[in-house]
Symmetry: C2
Subunit: 474 residues, 2 copies
């Protein structure tokens, strides 16, 4: 049975698929906040039941000490490649709640857009992937490749137990490659294939200048103020242009290869429109295009800072503590441990000796990810996208982080193609996140074709192509 009939079947079920996605979105599966533990469990149950219903074997929760991953396999294509299919069921916190037009966990369609926390990141694309497998099994009774579904529960907290899961269930997770539902499209009209993403290192820093908050009339002029000290520390992280000012952090980087810069320039990118779309202004390191800054250069951001009285009205205290959450996006060639050490050393240098500094580093840094351009998954994706659009897909890199890619590459030698259908303007991690209903249809057309395309190779052919591509890349 031709793959077109699978696509036809899926597009005919669009309303039911949307209902199913909405059920998934109603579950508040926020992984970072223990208050949502019930939502995390409900999402696991939702997925386990679904994988069982579609007939996968070995359906189970893979436990690594944190939120477990949901797993299920279909091994009915002997001699064909085995692909992991990745998605994640956790979402970002919905704060600030008051700026949502409709509540974050009550999915609502407005103007062809489905609004809900997690709609774009990444329940929408995860549902596309799972419906694709479901359709192959229902309509044809078989998938074109062997499939191992792996749905993570800690992507939004940078996968703290993913390493433990992959180590513990290494045998179960052996595969020839991985296709990820996470990893958005770069542009609404241009066909792109992601061949890289930045890594990440995160920190929470706290300082203390006294045992307690004191009255600003009584002590003002005599003692340090934790808010002032934290401001000085944060101000020391960048120069006036916004370039990272931490000694050694940029200078240790190798120059970006000319062919990568050239590839990056191929992607049409309207810098003005990009920042204007969120009401921002361009700001960043000199000597690089914005697209280069976003994908090939590290970026250090304070994600939150606080200290002292933040309620209504005034309270004349000198705060004794202040806090900041920091994330550093890293690029190929940067080692998470080395950049962590450089950042910590800098913080300790700029913090005055009579100020107590503590740095909490969850030790879940992810390296940047690089997918060889000749990899069979890239070749297959190029073909599918060319057939769908008539365009040659542009190879792009992501500024964001998909920790899974680095971990699966390192522990299992598995390369990942990101094939998500989210778009960059869908307000992920922010209020009023949405997913385009048009993207749902596009994804339901492309995913079956991609699996079919990969299934045209034998497992051996797939492996040897992958090996050659990796050697050529290095």
């Amino acid at each position: 049975m031709h793959v077109d009939s699978i696509v036809h079947y899926l597009l005919g079920r669009r309303d039911e698929i949307l209902d199913n996605l909405c059920d998934f979105l109603r579950i508040p599966s926020v992984s970072t906040d223990p208050a949502y533990l019930g939502g995390m469990r409900d999402a696991q149950t939702f997925l386990v039941n679904w994988l069982k219903r579609m007939g996968l074997s070995d359906v189970q929760l893979l436990d690594g000490g944190g939120h477990p991953a949901v797993y299920g396999a279909w091994n009915g294509a002997p001699g064909k490649p085995t692909l992991l299919i990745y998605g994640h069921y956790d979402v970002q916190p919905p704060d600030p709640l008051e700026t949502w037009v409709t509540p974050p966990f009550e999915p609502t369609v407005r103007n062809g857009r489905l609004y809900a926390r997690g709609a774009s990141d990444v329940k929408g694309s995860t549902v596309i992937a799972l419906e694709t497998v479901d359709a192959f099994l229902k309509v044809r009774g078989a998938c074109p490749v062997n499939v191992k579904v792996f749905l993570e529960g800690e992507e939004e907290t940078n996968s703290p137990s993913l390493r433990a899961i992959v180590e513990r269930y290494g045998d179960l997770l052996q595969a020839d490659g991985m296709i990820s539902a996470d990893g958005a499209r770069a542009h609404p009209e241009i066909s792109t294939i992601n061949v890289g993403s930045r890594g990440i290192v995160e920190f929470e820093i706290s300082i203390r200048t006294a045992d307690k908050d004191v009255h600003s009339g009584r002590y003002g002029g005599a003692v340090r103020n934790a808010a002032h000290e934290m401001a000085r520390i944060i101000a020391s992280l960048h120069d006036e242009d916004g370039a990272i000012a931490i000694p050694g952090l940029l200078t240790a980087l190798s120059p970006v290869p000319a062919n990568v810069r050239a590839e990056t320039a191929k992607f049409l990118f309207d810098e003005v429109a990009f920042v204007k779309s969120v009401g921002a202004h361009a700001h960043g390191e000199h000597g690089f295009s914005m697209r280069e800054r976003l994908t090939l250069r590290p970026a250090l951001d304070v994600n939150g800072m606080w200290g002292g009285y933040t309620g209504v009205g005034y309270k004349t205290v000198i705060p004794c503590t202040a806090h900041a959450k920091l994330s550093l996006r890293i690029v190929p060639g940067q080692d998470p441990d080395q950049v962590s050490a450089a950042l910590k050393a800098h913080l300790r240098t700029v913090c005055p000796p009579d100020v107590e500094l503590s740095i909490d580093n969850p030790e879940t840094g992810s390296r940047a990810f690089n997918l060889p351009t000749g990899h069979p998954l890239v070749v297959a994706a190029k073909k599918v996208l060319h057939e769908a659009t008539g365009q040659e897909a542009v190879l792009v890199r992501l500024g964001a982080t998909i920790p899974i890619t680095a971990i699966f590459q390192e522990l299992l030698g598995v390369q990942t193609l990101t094939f998500g259908f989210a778009l960059p303007d869908e307000d992920i991690h922010a209020p009023n996140e949405f997913f385009r209903l048009a993207s749902l249809a596009e994804g339901l057309s492309a995913w079956p074709k991609l699996l079919e395309q990969v299934g045209e190779l034998s497992a051996d052919e797939f492996r040897s192509m992958a090996t050659v591509a990796t050697i050529q890349q290095v």
Copy 2:
């Protein structure tokens, strides 16, 4: 009947007075936060009923558009001076709640200390003042002076409607001088009289760098981060020593007169112990002793700052807004409007042009206060304190602000003696605020003697002494 019998009566009622104070402290009269409006109303009712019970006339709420003041008068001493007696019934917010050993609005005695929000600032001393008037009227049937009780409800929010109240009720509030229950003692063992206090100007500043928070992977390296910008702004307010770095703000100040520096040096002040008692380290402008920095030099403090995600775990956003609350303590010679203008000009200069800056300035700045050292209230206080302790009281200045002093001086020509019995270590504006039971007894001994002492002067004598003192001071 000798004043000693009044003191004897008061000390005999110590347990009932403590009970009465505890009733007052149980009322959560937080003026800054609208959530406590009920507590504010309960405190007004508590005081109105008490003033009526003690037989004051004209008992009423004086409304200036915000939280009203509570007023009551006793005019039975013709030819004698008329004194305003000032206290305030509002308290600071109790946050952070989790660090209180016992709840802030459940007064608890431990080791001779009464713990509750407002115990030290300033319900304890306010109760001393009111019990004194009550005792004179109960025991002697008369006070030594005419009395106008004025209990403010907005001291902790810097008295936004006090000016309106004093203007509207100017005739009612005419007096020869004022004694304030607010304004703490400077030292537990050394007798002091406050002859000055710093003024204050407050601001809340907000910046905006984009229309919405964006994902730090998607936008990191391309746009400004509001937390970074706020940190740069805050870091620009001081130099490395902690001296204010706002152009014109310090240079516009006249040098502190030599006699004031000499007076300041008379007060034994252990710099090391002062900062060590709160676990802090000395930090501030060079060229001045700590005591001078605290009372004769301006101090600018960030009382709170916040931006981005401040909850549990991590959220990789680039915040689009950040906020800070600032207070600037000002000294004699500084005009609130001028320093406000200098601070605003500085903020606008350091804020990049593509960052939106808004400055909310409640316009309730208070000038610093100076009480002439020959004023009859100072002379009376010196005598009372000398008799009580055998020591010559040291003239000191407060680092904190009592906005009422500047406003009454400006609008009614009324000078204020602060005669509160709080001590500097009582954690006002912080968790576990307390008031010493010993201070309650000391206050109940001193207040009747002070009123008696002032009552030895006729109104005319009081006024001419005050006039001469003011002329000599200038």
